[in-house]
Symmetry: C2
Subunit: 230 residues, 2 copies
């Protein structure tokens, strides 16, 4: 028995690789992305009344790791990357069916002829992610504020202090999106995106964001943004 | 582009048909069901540490309506079944990809040799539902208590009063599960399972529950349980 599903939409997001994406949605409200419905689902009728909801569920495919074998145990980053827990006790993308689930903020529904686009924020989604379904977030059903949550009891509390090198500052100021981009970079890096098992002070890390490579290093509780490389 | 997924488990539930199932999970905590992992996913390692979570997400297939065409607009029961909203603004099972999403209470994980079974409560799932994924419910991410929720702002408030006919009472008392079953029947029927567009006082309704047909009728704000037919 198996089931076949077609994407109903595609995500357009600033994240061009997995590294650097916050580990959960909502951690960085500044992240903007869009969900574009693809034919034949780009029917404005299909999203009628959706703008009455402030939040929606996105069910999507972890498309970059589609052909990897699943393992019964995974190493969640919240446990320092050393302890292994059951794959079904984790939100790891490496699962038997690589289907992801994220609640995101619905900013706006934009319909323009054949184009039906949902503007989102607070996403943790890779660019080009195929979307299988959109559902309204219904608080009286989906919200269980006092659920017991094993090893993931709360949002990470310790934030790093983010500073920009003169070079990074200059590159930033040369962009039209400087103010928003500065805020976004701070929010992404203060969470310390390094995998816990490979976190080294002084080492230069980088990930692709929009059209540049963001290069940075950590020293104690401080992140220094080195450059926005072309 | 399409994606193929295999079920990792199957639901065993008292609901043998769609009619009678509460419209959302959590509305009837008394409903017990189990999720049985199927080979090769029946590996106790895959659910290690899961019992630290009080709630889990079930992503499943609406298997009874797999080959139905989707429509851009659906009629949610909460709107009286007359008004139509966009399919993506609803939790209707009739969707482009018939994937369901329910948060349920994880009562216990029972491992016995090759058998790996999750005991659940508060489910809204049909018997034999194929499950695609299990994820832990992480409150700091998944719980958005003040999300705005369009036309579905709160749990239904008006509950019907449930009474048992002498015949139904006698049939109930002949069962070993009489006490729990009585509570369950009350909770199911007080929600008024009738589709709003086909709700008729005096008409006899029935649905399959466990191994019997539950037959009942509504009169004003009162439900009379007629019989538990064989």
């Amino acid at each position: 028995m198996s089931f076949q599903f077609k994407p109903i939409g595609l995500i357009h997001s600033p994240f061009k690789e997995k590294f650097g994406i916050p580990r959960q949605p909502g951690l960085v409200p500044e992240i903007r992305a869009t969900l574009e419905l693809v034919p034949p689902y780009n029917n404005p009728e299909a999203v009628a009344e959706l703008e009455g909801y402030s939040h929606i569920w996105i069910q999507f495919v972890f498309h970059q790791i589609l052909n990897q074998e699943w393992q019964p145990r995974v190493r969640p980053p919240r446990l320092g990357g050393n302890q292994r827990v059951g794959v079904f006790a984790s939100r790891s993308p490496f699962r038997p069916n690589p289907i992801g689930l994220s609640v995101v903020v619905l900013e706006q529904v934009v319909v323009d002829g054949d184009s039906v686009v949902l503007e989102l924020s607070g996403v943790d989604l890779l660019d080009a992610t195929p979307v299988l379904d959109i559902k309204p977030y219904i608080a009286y059903v989906d919200s269980v504020p006092d659920a017991e949550c094993g090893f993931a009891p709360a949002a990470p509390e310790k934030l790093l202090r983010v500073q920009f090198s003169p070079q990074a500052e200059e590159q930033l100021q040369g962009r039209v999106d400087a103010v928003d981009l500065r805020a976004l970079i701070i929010r992404l890096l203060e969470l310390d995106p390094r995998p816990a098992y490979a976190a080294e002070d002084g080492r230069v890390y980088g990930f692709r964001l929009y059209d540049f490579d963001l290069r940075w290093q950590v020293d104690g509780d401080r992140v220094l943004v080195l450059e926005l490389a072309g």
